[in-house]
């Protein structure tokens, strides 16, 4: 069957009609336990929440900041951001959105225990400075903050709702309250979430009236459900499964900006020796992984930041050229052996590598790496842990070798560079990486307001860090979306699923 082009961002994708769709059922590969992304910040949770709740700003399918509940925003100085609220926007319970609601939502995101708190750590104050005006002040200048009040790190609910359901937002009883294109009508964990078009939404009325997202964890069942017509498609299909869907559905693969990498703790043996890190880099057959494990539905990564992340800062050709300069470390056991021989750990060593159970492809990559390392005399013991356990262990210094599996929530490369390469980011800098050139470039980028210049600085930081190999980037992943032939998702792109994606699902023309 004809397969859509891998990257739909070029705008050649099909367009749909406005024929109304009464009900659309899509399969999700696993269940949600909470709809509240500040409690459970998985990608599937975003898929639902972004339909129901909005943020101050929105992200366009092509990765640009757009008006959301704020119609305009400005940055009077490097540390101050001012947002003007849309008037007439209402929550699905009928109440109008006020500055109080926005402030309460931001406070909820900042609160201790919230999964989003990290993004708001640099905020000094949030105030209503006018009837419909919110002013946020930062502790230190940070150009990347512009992306923080977007759906990835802030979803707005009403103050009353948050107060009433403190600690219980997003359960089957309380559901969610938002201003978005859809409202949740029912949520049964392990079964489904059902959404209904929100007639009072300020945007264009979506075609799909009722949207049901069914959780079908078993791959076989999921496919049979599609073939027997019980579902109209699936989101986030695992790569190994996607091909078997191609006979019954249109499967779209789009880069989802996520990256999988190995993080070496450069402060400790054996990875304090760059030769060991290089030996690993040569040993890992990354193109083999992409071909075998990911069935070609991914791209070998040369750095943490995927090319789609630069959209707002640098144009494509510049990115291409910049990435071409990064060292390649093509798979070669011979080279790996040679590097290891140069290190202080010629005779090999043994260590553990854990992967989250929600990412079996990471496990397989680990097994492939372990197989290659065996030839170097290095024993890699692969272990499966729960996602929560893996996240809890994702702290610098915990383990010498770790998987980094990251889904950026913004369209700004600094989201990755600031967290994972800056020596000051002690909570996230897994390799204990310290490079004054890199730190310097990152600091300058924070205060730099010029887009191109920021891009140049950030790209430079990546290039500076690359030879040191604090991370071994493995691949940039793609997400597979399958839809029955009579439906189409307009404007599929790297940012397609960040906003109210269901509003762009249409009947095929």
């Amino acid at each position: 069957s004809p397969q859509r082009k891998d990257d739909g961002a070029d705008g050649t994708a099909a367009r749909g009609t406005d024929t109304p769709v009464d009900k659309l059922t899509l399969a999700l590969p696993s269940s949600l336990s909470s709809l509240d992304i500040s409690r459970e910040a998985g990608i599937l949770n975003y898929l639902v929440a972004a339909l129901v709740q909005e943020s101050l700003l929105a992200v366009s399918p092509t990765g640009e900041l757009e008006p959301g509940l704020a119609t305009s925003w400005k940055q009077p100085d490097a540390k101050t951001y001012v947002y003007t609220l849309r008037s007439g926007a209402t929550f699905s319970d009928g109440a109008e959105v006020t500055t109080d609601d926005v402030i309460a939502s931001i406070e909820a995101a900042r609160a201790e225990g919230s999964a989003l708190a990290y993004a708001w750590a640099n905020v000094a104050s949030v105030k209503a400075t006018g009837d419909r005006e919110i002013t946020i002040r930062l502790k230190t200048a940070d150009a990347a903050f512009a992306w923080t009040p977007t759906p990835g790190t802030l979803l707005i609910s009403s103050k009353a709702f948050l107060a009433e359901n403190k600690g219980k937002v997003g359960t089957a009883k309380t559901l969610l309250l938002g201003t978005g294109a859809y409202k949740v009508t029912s949520f049964v964990p392990d079964d489904h979430v059902q959404l209904e078009r929100n007639g009072d939404w300020w945007g264009d009325t979506p075609s799909v009236r009722t949207l049901k997202l069914s959780f079908i964890p078993d791959a076989g069942t999921r496919l049979v459900a599609m073939k027997s017509g019980s579902v109209d498609g699936a989101l986030n299909l695992p790569s190994d499964e996607a091909r078997s869907w191609e006979s019954t559905a249109e499967v779209t693969y789009t880069g989802d900006r996520s990256v999988v990498a190995l993080a070496f703790d450069t402060a400790k043996a054996p990875f304090d020796d760059v030769h060991v890190r290089r030996a690993f880099a040569y040993a890992a057959d990354r193109s083999g992984m992409v071909r075998g494990i990911l069935h070609g539905k991914a791209e070998v990564a040369s750095t943490l930041v995927s090319p789609q992340m630069w959209g707002a800062l640098l144009d494509e050709s510049k990115v291409k050229r910049g990435y071409a300069a990064l060292p390649a470390f093509d798979h070669s056991i011979k080279a790996a052996k040679a590097e290891l021989a140069k290190s202080r750990h010629k005779d090999g060593f043994s260590l553990d590598l854990s992967y989250p159970n929600s990412g079996p492809q990471l496990g397989k990559a680990a097994l492939a790496l372990a197989d290659a390392l065996k030839e170097l005399g290095i024993t890699l013991k692969v272990k499966e842990v729960t996602l929560e356990q893996w996240i809890a262990d994702l702290v610098p210094g915990k383990k010498p070798l770790q998987f980094l599996w990251y889904f950026p929530v913004t369209g700004d490369p600094a989201e990755l560079t600031d967290s994972y390469l800056a020596s000051a980011a002690s909570a996230t800098n897994l390799p204990h990486y310290e490079n004054s050139d890199v730190d310097d470039a990152l600091a300058r980028a924070k205060t730099e307001t010029g887009k191109a210049e920021r891009g140049r600085l950030l790209l430079g930081a990546l290039q500076d860090a690359a030879p040191d190999l604090p991370y071994l980037p493995l691949w940039w992943a793609q997400t597979a979306t399958a839809l029955a032939k009579e439906y189409v998702l307009e404007e599929p792109g790297a940012f397609a699923l960040v906003g109210p994606w269901a509003t762009r699902v249409k009947k095929t023309a």
């Binding site: 049964v188 392990d190 079964d191 027997s228």
Partner: protein, 354 residues
């Protein structure tokens, strides 16, 4: 002949024995003392199980407070809050007491993962799982019993071997494998049943959605029941009273239903507790395969995410269910078999004392 001897064990034991009428008989079949003893036994069993369930939080490696916090950041404040909430600083016995008291009052704590009330979470899923288990049980009964009886009646003949082999295959097929096969055949190839979920129509739709899962669930149990029934039937057929009934011309159908099958009731119902345990265990796999939001899926995900309060609550619920099933079979047995009735005036003994 020898009139000076009391009629020991003699058939003519002259004294007429007052014979209770039918209704009184039913009453005496289950005297309250027996019921009370069974209830006490069940309570004791439940108490032991509840201690085991309570101990689960201690089983997880590390600090229980951290376990109860889950993956949330363990700030001193948060830890203290959890300690207070679960009274972790009190002696174990007191903790257990509080926990049990709360549980009895329906307060099973709060889910670590979602923050939702555990009672509410369980409540929603309970109904579905009970429906699934009952349907699975019905399937097992409808298939396992007749096949078992057939196999028993035709023991060691071809039809018995076939039935037995089918039972063994059912018993040996893990639910995930069997489920996938059934989905493939009945929903994809034949399109008779939906492949997943609970459906959103009424009771009829729900039933339609639960048929395949129930069959999958019932399959393994069918194997167990078939085996039990077959063995019981063979044993019964071998009994002298069956031969005697046939030898005196009791109609064949009566012999089969009243003599043979009647005798299998007790051994088969004894297996019911076992069967329930099987069924409950099966829901884990079946709910996973058919994407059903029941207790089984909840258990797997709660275990995977170490959502200890939910796991505890669920374990307690299952323990209670099993105790209940055992109680029911215990109370059914004396109704089915008069010999098991506690007989305060067993004539045999009474006569000896007379």
């Amino acid at each position: 002949m020898t009139a000076e001897l009391p009629a020991t064990g003699a058939p003519f034991g002259g004294r007429p024995v007052p014979v209770p009428r039918l209704r009184e008989r039913l009453g005496t079949a289950l005297p309250w003392r027996y019921v009370a003893r069974r209830l006490a036994g069940t309570a004791a069993l439940l108490a032991v199980l509840s201690v085991a369930v309570f101990a689960l939080v201690r089983l997880a490696p590390g600090d229980p407070a951290r376990t109860l916090l889950g993956a949330r950041s363990a700030t001193p404040d948060a830890l203290a809050a959890v300690r207070a909430r679960y009274r972790l600083d009190e002696p174990l016995a007191a903790q257990y007491g509080h926990w049990l008291l709360d549980a009895v009052h329906g307060d099973l704590g709060v889910s670590i993962r979602t923050g939702a009330d555990v009672t509410a979470v369980l409540g929603d899923r309970f109904a579905l799982t009970v429906q699934l288990v009952l349907l699975g049980f019905a399937v097992a009964l409808l298939v396992g019993l007749p096949l078992g009886v057939l196999a028993g009646l035709r023991a060691r003949r071809a039809s018995d071997r076939v039935a037995q082999s089918l039972g063994v295959v059912a018993l040996s097929t893990p639910a995930f494998a069997g489920g996938l096969l059934l989905i493939y055949v009945f929903s994809l190839l034949l399109g008779w049943f939906p492949a997943y979920g609970t459906g959103d129509g009424g009771a009829g739709d729900r039933l339609l959605h639960l048929i395949l899962p129930a069959v999958t669930l019932g399959l393994a149990v069918t194997g167990v029941l078939l085996k039990l029934t077959r063995a019981a039937v063979i044993r019964e057929l071998d009994r002298e009273h069956v031969t005697f009934a046939r030898a005196r011309g009791v109609p064949t159908r009566t012999v089969l239903t009243r003599y043979v099958l009647r005798g299998t009731v007790v051994p088969v119902t004894t297996g019911i507790g076992l069967v329930l345990a099987y069924l409950l265990a099966g829901t884990v796999m079946v709910e996973q395969v058919y994407a059903l939001p029941g207790l089984g899926q909840l258990l797997v995900s709660s275990v995977t995410f170490r959502d200890v309060p939910v796991v505890q609550a669920e374990a307690l619920l299952i323990a209670a269910l099993i105790c209940l099933a055992n109680l029911v079979t215990d109370l059914l047995h004396p109704l089915a078999d008069p010999r098991l009735r506690p007989a305060p005036t067993a004539p045999h003994r009474a006569k000896r004392q007379a």
